[in-house]
Subunit: 348 residues, 2 copies
């Protein structure tokens, strides 16, 4: 590599978000039909009445998944779903994906078939066409890159940057499950490594395991919002944990927020496993990530519309920026939200 | 990994093209606006009068590039250009790209900056907006995934599958240079490995080195074709070598072709280096790949239009499928074209 003598700065010093900010700060946009570039769940391109949204993710073996406990079919499914989740987070409908994979020699055709079984299943479930891709060798592990393209009417697109004071903050489903599933898989892996005859005790934990290994994107929520004629004022999907995503909305919208601990939805299975691990389930919900739920804000006058929808939970409200983004604990304390997120680059 | 007991088939048994065919054979297309899925330089999506084309490539360290001799800035530039080349090959204009990178700990911020300098330069040169992406860690080397999205009028899109009997086969620029550049770089690398004090003798070989390290896409050709009001009957870009790409057009169009050896454009620098390496320059042109020139067919009545354009070379014509795809050598022999291509998966 070049510039060996130059003083170098380790990426861990600024982390993933810092790096993204650093490399995107000089990006220039030249085309009038580029409505939104870097900085939301997906880019937005104007095609007349219909806007296209584009999002992409690169999953790398050993970083985003561990093949010791990840079935290849699930991996293919998840690689698609995490991208569709970003499309839904724009209040758009995914229509097309491309998939590139790089595979090392340890993979046989049957392995690739399993990955594509999962990819095709996700395409079927979410009514998405696989329209292209690239297949290549890798000297080391497996890498999967998916790009998803969706569509929405111009007026339906929902950004991160448009939350307003007094809006209600809502989250779908429940949080922290995918993180607890990961903890369980990691624990059983460690035991298995020291004792290969050991039978992993995963029984009874289907829910959190599925949250981790075969997550779903909230297509249903987007459909419900349409039925309710309810357009969120802002929206993002939860891939890095509630804290991190709430801060994204607050930072991009120049607002603060109050999130109430006792309103954050956590499944009983998640709580049970958290207890077993001596982890505060709140931490799993705030910082665990990979739940692929939707976090959005609605105008307070729309609150009535969601009251019969048990999967949508009001968890707080938007405030002036001066009040910061805070969590109000069960005991009434106010704690600043922090973007711990799933920051692999700082973890290293 | 699962299914350890299953009988497994090594990917090398069928190669990259075989694998792609295998995993794409069951793909179903559900959306009416998916005009073209897998099987051309790019996918085509209908957005009314304007069609979008989408293409993606995943470049992996040690397979597609070697950082010993690849400047990171050039790498970023090339990663974009190879995708733009696919967009031009659809007779479309690239407008947007997304870039995902996975980087291991050996990379510092300054290295990532260099990659993005190249990416941004390519965006500037080709008037393309970088609109999204993903940044993540990698346990091993560097991986770059680029998706390019372009636009064309519905009637301008040019596929691989629409060549007709008696059409003239044309190729732009010259062929084999990128391959000879790679041979030179690989040779100097080997010498350098045994003697680190050795100074690589790359001087005077700028042309073929640039062809390998910093190739350009043929935006100029697409513009000239528009000026000439000339729509090719079929088109593809040359990433895997003239043989392989010619066969793609013939197979997809159900035609044969005659390509004449003495018409294949080869630069003097390429010939010189081929001589030094005892490589037949014809082999470099047919099977070398990475030239990113355009290969297209035109109706014979359009031949007049290109005669003053020295960068466009008629090299043969389309025949009935029964005659096969053949090369007519300088001595008059007829040899079947073979898709050696740049088939990493079979090489391993």
């Amino acid at each position: 590599m070049s510039n060996k003598k130059q003083k170098l700065t380790e990426i861990s010093e600024i982390g993933e978000f810092g790096l993204i900010e650093h490399i995107t700060k000089d990006i220039k946009i030249n085309h009038k039909n580029t409505i939104k570039g870097v900085g939301d769940d997906a880019a937005v391109i104007d095609h007349g009445d219909i806007y296209s949204v584009v999002t992409t993710d690169l999953l790398v073996e050993g970083i985003h998944f561990n093949l010791i406990y990840t079935p290849l079919k699930h991996l293919g499914y998840k690689a698609v779903v995490v991208n569709l989740s970003d499309v839904y987070a724009m209040n758009a409908t995914p229509k097309h994906i491309t998939v590139s994979i790089a595979i090392s020699k340890k993979f046989a055709i049957e392995h690739v078939e399993q990955i594509y079984e999962g990819i095709n299943l996700a395409c079927e479930q979410y009514n998405v066409d696989l329209v292209g891709g690239d297949t290549s060798s890798s000297l080391t592990g497996l890498a999967i890159s998916v790009t998803a393209i969706g569509e929405a009417k111009k007026e339906d697109i929902t950004y991160r940057s448009t939350a307003n004071k007094n809006d209600i903050v809502c989250v779908t489903g429940n949080l922290g499950g995918a993180y607890m599933g990961l903890q369980l898989l990691e624990r059983e892996k460690e035991i298995f490594k020291t004792n290969p005859d050991f039978n992993p005790s995963l029984e009874g934990n289907d829910y959190i395991l599925q949250r981790q290994l075969k997550p779903e994107a909230r297509r249903d929520v987007i459909e419900i919002l349409k039925e309710l004629d309810l357009k969120p004022t802002s929206m993002i999907d939860i891939s890095d944990g509630l804290s991190s995503e709430t801060l994204h909305i607050c930072n991009k919208s120049n607002v603060g927020c109050k999130i109430f601990q006792d309103k954050i939805p956590i499944d009983l299975n998640t709580e049970k496993m958290a207890e077993e691990f001596n982890i505060d389930p709140l931490v799993a919900a705030l910082n665990g990530g990979e739940d692929y739920e939707l976090l959005f804000t609605i105008d307070i006058t729309d609150l009535e519309k969601i009251k019969n929808h048990t999967m949508i939970h009001p968890i707080g409200h938007i405030t002036d920026i001066e009040h910061g983004a805070v969590l109000i604990t069960t005991s009434g304390q106010s704690i600043a939200l922090q973007a711990q997120g799933w920051n692999q680059m700082k973890e290293e």
